[in-house]
């Protein structure tokens, strides 16, 4: 099978591409930076460039679309352009080239208005109520993608929740960097239950979606490890794996959410490029429960996570252990 993977320079995109290569598929990767995936044909270019897309989709049997602007901050127009317009163009190109299957990799945040998520399934994307430009634009893009679903052009949305693993810059590195500088508080008591997804599990679920398009097309599924843990324990586990002390101070979640919103605005106003120390999105993620009903997902995808949370943390620890081969490669 010939598969195009967009956004393969990221941790999850790379893992998906590698998994498909390992399974003997003919994989093309498309992103601005080199994907670093051995055995894949690497195309370089922007997801917003129609000519690039036309080349990339030609002759493909399936597309897995991960390329996106992922950030807590940034200009709204940039998010719109990459996440919404990029997806719209890729969908158009795929349809024009008669690619039969399209997996849109999304995020549970597209259906989250900030309240605690306790054992919920995958609700419809709701960009109007989503918090932050990332969730809003991914939500719009998911709606576009699922609206394009038909028997000739099957589209499914897979929403892995908080993907982490060795080499993860989104969660793991941030937690470790902040904890090392003692700039990571626990919010409230750190009891909020959070489900996460070890990167290999997320990749396997996305690959499974492509295998199961007959059943999953037209719908969105949330993917997690199915192992909710108190957020404080999770962060302590990541810190232990990374060899830094776990956070020992706590601030009330409501304070952090309020402060995060203010800091975001100041950061934008000041035109700073790096991530701010606290954002409203991050504060919400760390102080309210986020875990999901995985029964339908597992049934539709005929998939179960192969790597448990504890095993994932062990692999993380191995990655960060001094002298580890993976670390010296960096």
């Amino acid at each position: 099978m010939r598969v195009l993977v967009t956004g393969a320079s990221g941790m999850l995109g790379g893992a998906v591409a590698r998994l498909l290569v390992d399974r003997g598929h003919s994989v093309t990767t498309l992103q601005r930076r080199p994907s670093g995936v051995d055995g894949a044909t690497d195309l370089r270019g922007s997801i917003t460039d129609a000519e690039v897309l036309k080349d990339a989709v030609r002759g493909q049997d399936g597309i897995i679309h991960l390329a996106a602007k992922v950030s807590f901050t940034g200009r709204a127009a940039d998010f719109d352009n990459v996440n919404i317009e990029g997806t719209r163009r890729l969908l158009a190109a795929a349809r024009a080239a008669s690619v039969p299957d399209f997996v849109f990799v999304s995020s549970p945040s597209v259906a989250n208005s900030g309240a605690a998520l306790v054992g919920l399934g995958a609700g419809p994307a709701d960009p109007a109520r989503a918090h932050g430009d990332y969730a809003r634009t991914k939500g719009e893009a998911e709606l576009l993608a699922l609206a394009a679903d038909s028997l000739d052009f099957r589209v499914a949305a897979v929403r892995p929740h908080v993907v982490w693993g060795p080499g993860d810059t989104q969660l793991v590195e941030r937690v470790l960097a902040r904890a090392a500088r003692r700039r990571l508080p626990l919010l409230d008591s750190g009891a909020a239950l959070i489900d996460t997804t070890y990167v290999d599990n997320a990749a396997a679920a996305i690959a499974a979606a492509l295998d199961r398009m007959d059943r999953v097309h037209g719908s969105a599924v949330v993917v997690t490890n199915g192992e909710p843990r108190p957020v404080g324990e999770l962060i302590a586990g990541i810190c232990a794996a990374g060899g830094v002390p776990a956070p020992s101070w706590a601030v009330p979640g409501a304070v952090a959410r309020g402060a995060g919103a203010v800091v975001e605005k100041l950061w934008l106003w000041a035109g700073r490029q790096e991530e701010p120390p606290m954002t409203r999105f991050l504060a919400e993620q760390l102080s309210t429960a986020h875990w999901f009903d995985q029964r339908r997902t597992r049934e539709l995808l005929d998939w179960t996570p192969a790597v448990s949370l504890d095993e994932g943390l062990e692999r993380l620890a191995a990655y960060y252990s001094p002298g580890s081969a993976s670390l010296s490669n960096q």
């Binding site: 306790v118 054992g119 409230d188 909020a192 239950l193 108190p230």
Partner: protein, 891 residues
């Protein structure tokens, strides 16, 4: 609400306020045309009558249920004249008129075939008036929070008195919408805004509210009121009404409180009654009443019920006491008094200094019981009277209990172990006619406004009597009025007149309320006698046995077993106040052979064993049997107890308020089962507490648990290793739940079995392993998780004292949570430190359970009665809040 149901009817009136030839416009909700259009033939008609100030909207759930093709019933819900969307007549219509109006309406509708009336508030009296006038087509009556009679001794409720006050009446009911607003505010939980608006809609503007004011003015406050005769006619007419009756009640009602329910139950003793604890006046809004009503209708044969039926069997059976297979609870007590042991000690109470503070011989006990029974009978206590006994275990309670039973009165045993709020709920729900109590209980009765006449234990000074509303005392009632001849040896003592039959209710006991409000459990005399026989044959307790009763329920059984009983010095409301010294002193007083104690009491006995002297150790060494019931007893505790009573067989029967005991097991048997399980050669061993085999005369089975954590099946099984809801069948299983018809239906749904609400399984040797409560089963995505197995595994960890496994999140995909109390206890509640969480998770994994979160609490919330049952409902609510990101606080 389905707009198709709404229609208007022109009805020729024959009521007094209207000139002949007048027709009135009625608005009704009627699903009849809809049923006809769907081709559904209704089984009959529900005629629903609202009260003041609501309208037919109150019954919308019944219309929806009646339109269900699974059980089609025509439902006609009327808006009474001057009410709802019916005509404003400008007349004052009294109760008799309104009953006649309803007859006019049904005549105009041509309503034929079987009819079941449904009424609420004053609509209840009107619906019953119609029912009595249409006996030929009446199949049943349903009543919700209503009344037909003002009990002579009591005043009308303050809320109504206020509404009737001349200074308030016009303004409160007509000029303003206060009466409507206040009524709508009686809903628990509060009504959503749209429903409140719907109730208000037909009553906007004073001109539309005259009916509301007239309704209030028509309440017959006393015998001179014009509507008094009509209401009395309805109330008295009910006594002959033998159609099936269902009463659904919200006891949180400032107007139609439990005393009106009691009055109705006395008039319709065959009625099925369900009190929805926590629901109020608008019970149709607070709870789903449609499902129980249609469940009840399903059992009704409208055609049969509509025929004039022969008088219903009285609730009290006619079987005489002498029936060969039945020996009343006190028969051994009688025999002991009449026999050679008659002058020997029967009951005793211990004082704090280790001496006997009170004691009675068998003859004295028997005499006192008969004297008190005579005194109570003279005071008007008779068969069926409900007598609440609020007296701590000991001689006084024993005498009062057996006196009441001999009289045929129903003893209500609500203990302080329910906590003040729980006790108050229990007493109000049971509506005793008489409360017999110690000072503290009577003070509580006075403050909390419990119903019933008051009798103190001791004679009280006049002033105190007045304050507490006490009529008399047990001391006074028990004094022989005239000298009675002593019975000749061998001759049965004279018995007070008017006993009830063996199948009449004898006692109402209360569950500990670990899964919701405490439930009243009704036992008949035959069932109490069967309990005695089961205890006697299972444990070999017989006349001549001498027992220390450190566990309240069994304290009362001693005299019935013919055993000498002593109550140790302890606060019976707090089991853990029993010390080793107090136990030894009580044992020494009677040279005890048997000890009953709860696990919490035993724990304290073990903790205080250093206080025992040589003599104390010696007397305990002669104990032959030690029974501990009420909660599971951990094996290490039993082992420690065994050291104190080296000669005793340690037994931990399993049972519940509804059936005591159900199984029995000894310490040796527990060890044997554990060893076999550990060795891996016992199919079905493990995952729970091994409680042994059924007691004499009992049968056990389970209904297998489904993936959603329920046990909906109907085929009882006993295969080893199959987890399910535990069923028990035995002659000493309870008769029913008191005024909890729905609960009773659910518990007795499988004929011949009682559903215990516990879950467990059998092993290959036929022993039962209890895995927890059905209501506490966690429905994880991988299947149901029963809590006890994982809890035991966690509690084996060095630093854990008590563990509770519960679930958070939606049913079917719950995250499993362990809440632990550590040694030493944590200072604050919250998530466990990662290391502790890791070890708890690993321990639970050995029992096959994957834990998401581990929370620590400084102390588990446990029940008062047993000090052992963790309040999981509360814990689970707390865990849900904390794990969703809320502040921990305390559970």
């Amino acid at each position: 609400m389905d707009p198709e149901w709404s229609r208007e009817v022109q009805v020729p009136s024959t009521s007094a306020p209207d000139a002949p030839g007048t027709a009135r416009r009625w608005h009704i909700l009627d699903n009849g045309p809809q049923l006809a259009a769907k081709g559904l033939a209704p089984a009959g008609t529900l005629l629903c009558v609202h009260g003041n100030p609501t309208w037919s909207y109150l019954w919308r759930t019944l219309l929806a249920a009646g339109s269900d093709p699974a059980h089609p019933w025509r439902v006609v819900a009327v808006d009474q004249l001057d009410m709802g969307y019916s005509e404003r007549t400008g007349t004052f219509r009294r109760l008799a008129d309104r009953i006649n109006d309803l007859g006019d309406l049904t005549a105009a509708l041509g309503l034929d075939g079987p009819v079941v009336t449904v009424g609420h508030d004053w609509g209840g009296a009107i619906s019953l008036g119609w029912a009595l006038a249409h006996r030929d087509q009446l199949s049943g009556v349903v009543l919700t929070n209503t009344a037909v009679h003002q009990p002579a001794a009591s005043k009308i409720p303050p809320a109504l008195r206020l509404a009737l006050h001349p200074a308030v009446h016009q303004w409160g009911t007509v000029t303003s919408d206060s009466f409507l607003r206040v009524t709508h505010s009686l809903a628990h939980p509060p009504l959503p805004a749209d429903i409140r608006a719907a109730y208000m809609a037909p009553y906007r503007g004073a001109a539309r509210r005259f009916g509301v004011g007239n309704f209030v003015a028509d309440i017959p406050v006393d015998g001179t009121h014009p509507s008094f005769p009509a209401l009395t006619g309805v109330a008295e007419g009910l006594r002959g009404l033998d159609v099936p009756a269902l009463m659904l009640w919200g006891p949180r009602d400032p107007i139609f409180s439990d005393r009106y329910l009691k009055d109705l139950v006395e008039r319709l003793p065959h009625a099925q009654v369900h009190r929805f604890e926590g629901a109020g006046h608008l019970v149709a809004e607070d709870r789903d009443i449609a499902s129980p009503i249609f469940q009840w209708l399903a059992a009704l044969d409208p055609a049969a019920a509509a025929r004039p039926a022969p008088a219903a069997e009285p609730a009290t059976g006619a079987e005489p006491w002498g029936a060969a297979d039945f020996r009343p609870l006190w028969s051994l007590l009688d025999e002991q008094a009449a026999g050679p042991a008659g002058t020997g000690m029967a009951v005793a109470e211990m004082a704090a200094d280790g001496s006997t503070s009170r004691q009675l011989s068998w003859q004295q006990l028997d005499r006192k019981i008969l004297d008190l029974a005579a005194g109570l009978a003279a005071a008007g206590v008779g068969p069926g009277s409900r007598v609440s006994l609020m007296v701590p275990p000991g001689v006084d309670l024993t005498v009062a209990l057996y006196a009441c039973l001999r009289l045929g009165a129903v003893v209500v045993v609500a203990d302080a172990g329910l906590g003040t709020a729980g006790l108050s709920r229990a007493v109000r729900g049971a509506t005793p006619d008489v409360i017999i109590g110690i000072d503290r209980a009577l003070a509580a009765a006075s403050v909390l406004g419990w119903p019933g006449r008051r009798i103190s234990v001791r004679d009280l000074p006049a002033a105190r009597r007045r304050i507490l509303g006490v009529e008399t005392s047990l001391d006074t009632l028990g004094r022989p009025v005239t000298a009675r001849p002593e019975p000749h040896p061998g001759q049965a003592p004279d018995k007070p007149a008017g006993q009830a039959g063996p199948d009449a209710p004898a006692a109402v006991l209360f569950t500990s309320g670990s899964t919701g409000p405490a439930k009243g459990v009704v036992y008949t005399h035959r069932q109490l006698a069967a309990m005695r026989d089961t205890v006697a044959s299972t444990f070999g307790i017989r006349p001549g046995s001498r027992l220390v009763a450190g566990f309240a329920p069994f304290a009362l059984l001693g005299p019935a077993l013919g055993a000498v009983s002593v109550t140790p010095d302890m606060d019976v409301t707090a089991p853990r106040t029993l010390t080793a010294g107090a136990l030894a002193a009580a044992a020494a007083a009677i040279d005890a052979t048997v000890v009953f104690a709860s696990p919490a009491a035993l724990r304290n006995v073990v903790d205080t064993r250093d206080g025992l002297d040589e003599a104390g150790l010696k007397v305990l060494a002669r104990v032959e049997l030690l029974l501990s019931a009420g909660a599971p007893v951990p094996e290490p505790l039993l082992a420690a107890v065994q050291q104190l009573v080296p000669a005793a067989s340690l037994r931990t029967p399993y049972g519940m308020t509804e059936a005591l005991p159900v199984t029995d097991i000894s310490l040796e048997q527990i060890r044997g089962a554990d060893a076999e399980t550990a060795a891996g050669n016992l199919q079905g061993g493990g995952n729970g507490v091994c409680v042994g085999k059924p007691v004499h005369g009992a049968r056990l089975a389970v209904i297998p648990l489904e993936a959603d954590g329920t046990a909906p099946g109907t085929v009882p099984v006993t295969d080893p290793g199959v987890t399910g809801e535990i069923l028990v069948s035995a002659p000493h299983v309870k008769d029913s739940y008191d005024r909890l018809w729905l609960t009773q239906q659910a518990s007795a749904g499988l004929p011949g079995w009682h559903r215990t609400g516990d879950v467990g399984h059998f092993d290959a040797a036929g022993r039962l392993w209890v895995e927890g409560r059905l209501a506490h089963v966690v429905t994880a995505p991988g299947g149901p998780v029963t809590p006890v197995g994982a809890e035991q595994a966690i509690e084996r960890l060095e630093d854990i004292r008590l563990a509770a496994v519960t679930g958070v999140g939606p049913a079917g995909t719950q995250a499993v949570v362990a809440v632990v109390e550590t040694v030493p206890p944590a200072r604050r509640a919250g998530p466990a430190a990662p290391a502790l969480a890791g070890s708890v998770r690993a321990a639970a994994r050995t029992a096959g359970v994957e834990i998401s979160a581990v929370l620590v609490v400084p102390a588990q919330p446990t029940d008062i009665r047993h000090n052992a049952k963790i309040d999981r409902t509360r814990l689970s609510r707390w865990a849900s809040r904390v794990l969703a990101g809320g502040r921990p606080g305390t559970p």
